[in-house]
Symmetry: C2
Subunit: 607 residues, 2 copies
């Protein structure tokens, strides 16, 4: 289904491919004989989004990755050894020297950076593994995890590189002389040649780059390939050293951290946005793919993808903000309790966040909450729809919670998995809930208790005369209704009726408690309300005769007084004034629910 329909991004890639394919300047690399066989007409493009959609255009022919492997193996080395050990041997400053220079950083004695061959050979020696075979396995499985499929080494290209790789051997021996390589130099250089001969396509490079853009998580497979904390370092050296001597101008014109290689590959990543892969073997004088540079520049310009342009900002991550006088928990309440919550519920405030939370959005949240002048005694922070909380956001959220608690505000945090290891708010004094309804119910119950309205079920049986719905009716009217009801008893757990069932009456709960819930599109059932003794259900169905809109089940042993549709008809026929009174009471109750429901919608509309 998806992928069959070709949308605007397919069109864009196709346009770029067509407009750039005509460029035939440059030359195929010849310093490795095997590379000279590449077809200069080959040209492929890939674009991978951070939720795993991959778009491609042109030829997805396999080619050897060459230097484009460098940033990915640098990521593996950082993941395996940590920053300190890697930075002791390889620096981060760009160098004016050629990529295959036999030199070290004079002032520190390190290889200058991991994007030149000297630094890359040292980098490869640092990946995990007790033997060269284990290290090769780590490099291959690591690159495969970046690409999201199993990659292999091209034996012929490897043999060709090995046979002609004397300059890299010179570099490796020089690194050993500087104390930067400990081990068998020949084996280490062989490992590096194999790394360069791994076979990929433009699509693979797009996914690999998108994995960096996505904080180390492959967006197609969902695998965390390298820890998030190494990604910024990798993208930094790509930014400053990735495009040979073209780095400064590349960043100015294209604005994407990138790495190119002599086989004509370019991988470019825009953090938080996408990965690009291009393959075209014709190289310019600096060693970058001519069409690769042109295509990346065109895509960047068309889409405004510059690292240093402010991109999508979530200025507000606030989905809605409301108070309990307007939006109520679904816990059934008595008339008196409802009146109290109408009057005092504004002391309970809920703020619902959405999307990725970072510095800007959380800073705004903090300000809105702290500057809100409405007296607040309970503050519920609903994080159900939050997709990620970054370092800045977590620090600010924690500071906000601490500040609220210091001010004497009770704080509840709603998180889908209330898993303390992964929680966004570490503060132990914040209450935890997995849905906002239960959090609201908790705050309402505390509020009611603080005002002396202890939340207890009525003792004994609540007769019809004590039912909320019939509160305003004269005793003789209640008597007329009572004469026509039957008493029914339900065990705990019994389903009284399913949604969609034929309406079989108006139920008054005399004792016990029932739950009303509905199926949701996403699967789990969602509670609409609990209905306790003194409250009723089935009003909608008795007036409109439509099927039940909810499922009702008994939460405990429950006694109901039931007025069937036939009894209602009989009331109408034989005691029409009583029927009018009852119907008006039902209409009044519906009207109250409608007023709440409208307020609920307005809370969305006005946020």
């Amino acid at each position: 289904m998806a992928g069959v329909r070709r949308g605007p991004i397919d069109g864009l890639l196709e346009e770029v491919r067509a407009s750039v394919a005509g460029i035939d300047e440059g030359a195929v690399a010849t310093y490795i004989p095997e590379l000279a066989k590449a077809d200069p007409a080959t040209f492929g493009l890939g674009l991978a989004t951070l939720d795993g959609q991959v778009y491609t255009a042109g030829d997805l022919v396999p080619f050897t990755i060459q230097s484009v492997s460098k940033p990915f193996v640098y990521a593996l080395a950082l993941a395996d050894r940590g920053h300190e050990e890697v930075l002791a041997k390889i620096g981060t400053e760009p160098t004016g020297d050629p990529f295959n220079s036999i030199s070290i950083e004079e002032s520190t004695g390190r290889a200058s950076n991991p994007m030149v061959n000297a630094g890359a050979i040292v980098t490869t020696s640092l990946v995990r593994g007790a033997t060269r075979a284990e290290q090769l396995d780590r490099v291959l499985s690591g690159l495969s995890a970046f690409a999201g499929r199993e990659l292999t080494v091209d034996g012929e290209v490897f043999a060709s590189e090995r046979d002609t790789g004397d300059r890299n051997r010179a570099i490796a021996w020089f690194m050993r002389s500087a104390g930067l390589l400990d081990d068998d130099v020949d084996a280490q250089v062989d490992l590096y040649f194999r790394q360069c001969a791994v076979v990929v396509t433009a699509r693979d490079l797009a996914v690999m780059a998108a994995t960096l853009a996505n904080g180390g998580v492959n967006p197609v497979t969902g695998e965390q390939v390298v820890p998030r904390e190494v990604v910024a370092s990798v993208l930094t050296v790509m930014t400053t050293c990735g495009m040979y001597d073209y780095a400064g101008e590349w960043l100015y014109r294209v604005g994407l951290p990138a790495k190119s290689g002599v086989s004509g590959g370019v991988a470019a990543a825009l953090p938080g946005q996408l990965g690009l892969g291009v393959h075209s073997p014709l190289l310019d004088a600096r060693g970058n793919s001519v069409r690769g540079v042109a295509a990346a520049e065109r895509i960047s310009r068309t889409l405004g993808l510059h690292l240093l342009l402010p991109s999508e900002r979530t200025r507000s991550g606030i989905r809605r903000s409301y108070r309990d006088d307007v939006v109520r928990s679904r816990r059934g309440r008595t008339r008196v309790q409802t009146d109290v919550l109408d009057a005092e519920g504004s002391a309970i405030a809920v703020v619902e966040l959405t999307g990725d939370q970072g510095f800007a959005s959380t800073e705004l949240l903090v300000r809105l909450v702290l500057d809100d002048d409405t007296p607040t005694r309970w503050r519920i922070i609903d994080l159900r729809r939050v997709t990620r909380v970054d370092t800045a956001s977590a620090a600010l959220l924690d500071g906000l919670v601490r500040r609220l608690l210091d001010d004497g505000v009770a704080v509840a945090v709603v998180e889908p998995r209330a898993d303390t290891a992964r929680t966004a708010v570490k503060h132990l004094d914040a209450r935890r809930f997995t849905d906002p309804d239960t959090a609201l119910e908790w705050a309402e119950t505390e509020l009611l208790a603080s005002l002396g309205h202890v939340d207890e079920l009525p003792e004994g049986l609540v007769p019809l005369s004590g039912q909320d719905l019939l509160h305003d009716l004269a005793p003789e009217v209640v008597a007329e209704i009572e004469a026509r009801t039957t008493t029914q008893v339900f065990h705990a757990g019994t389903v009284l009726f399913e949604e969609g069932a034929v309406a079989d009456g108006l139920y008054f709960v005399g004792a016990g408690q029932v739950s009303a819930d509905i199926r949701t599109r996403s699967g789990p059932r969602r509670r609409l309300s609990t209905i306790a003794a003194g409250s009723s259900f089935g009003e909608l169905a008795i007036v409109d005769g439509l099927p039940r809109s909810t499922r009702i089940s008994a939460l405990e042993p429950t006694i109901c007084f039931v007025l069937s549709p036939e009894a209602y008809a009989d009331l109408h026929a034989t005691a029409p004034a009583a029927c009018a009174e009852l119907t008006r009471a039902i209409a009044r109750s519906l009207s109250q629910r409608l007023r709440y429901s409208t307020a609920d919608v307005a809370a969305f509309e006005e946020t």
Copy 2:
């Protein structure tokens, strides 16, 4: 109110200030005698958000801006002359040479970049102005616009720089010899000295940096100081050349485009997030403020603010998505029309977007819309809550609209200002609306017309027997009601009653049309519904006796049949069966409205 309460960011800045203030390494710059007078203990911090909140800590003493002026004047030069003219004289590659090197880029004959003195002096010569005085005015007013307040030159520092600035004179003469300065060298160097002697505070630097982070718009004043398209270029040269010889490591460790100066200032910007300003005169061997570097590194680490870390992503900018079978326009419809829309309304689809739209969020939107299998004939794209549409998003939105129109789908775009020059969707064949309600009404009317239900008002007077509310009632019941109504006539524009008014009856519209609207918190009135002949209003108030929840006004000459509360009471007393029937009809209508309203809330909950 805001600013008095000190939240977690104030706490963070205070902590950073306290932890870094103890560092007293380094030395105050002495090469300009006036700078040597700076108090080494001075230490101030500022942080400005992109919605104009500025946090500060420590000493906000005035100091001269020195080299921190370079990127801002480069922005002015790019704004005044365009990229081509500026790039012809000043390159973008970092150099290994000292900042005050007397050299040019050998391969191109340009000054290497605008962050070294040679490039900066040429940059200043390029700002707009026929005379040096006009250029000075441009530099001063430009820097003032970046800071959001009027800045002035420190005369003593300027004199001191002029008296001792021989090396800068040498550079300027060398630039002139290379053909990069056209004009009176002394006057040009004087202008540059004045630029360096502009007086700022750490707070000013934070706002100036935030203006760059905000795409050229000063977040405090709202002024577009330089065009958005020059900002990426300025931040690029700050990234690669802003921190003297420390640029590579600075980007690796701190990850913020930045510029430092010899007076101890540092300005750093994270695009889309914030601006930082630090001032502390003790300099390290490279010429960067010791505490400035330490404070920026600490803030960056605590908040996870690295340019190359994926930050807040709006993966989904979709606020909600619904179809007309569930959420309806507020245009009143007849029973028959309502039945048709219940059955066929799913052909009308609305998607509501929120926040900043960029590549990632719009790509996802495109995919969701194109992959949606529900047959759709009208597609409404609601952009009311969209704060910005970037280049990528605009290209994708336009592609989506074109694709939908090609597929035969009618497209409507909702934008608060339907201003074609600023519209996010350029496509002329898309309909434009300023609110989603009117867009839904348009689509519903088209849908009804396509099925032969022409949307006309009933001709002549609709009697009570033709009223939708009384549709199921027996003629003798309608007659009982009719006997108790009065007929009232309203001119177009008459307000029948205001919200909050005492309920004075149930109104049946016999001819004409009224509008129900409410006040919103944000100011303008919002239409809830239009009610045409055959429909009624005032049901809620007649059953619960509460004040009117909406204002009702006549859109045209209107005739109503009104059942007053007294008449309703009389009906109850003298014709109770008819009263029960009427009340049940009202309850049924409320129940239908409640079912819609619940669906409306669910459309939010389940998106």
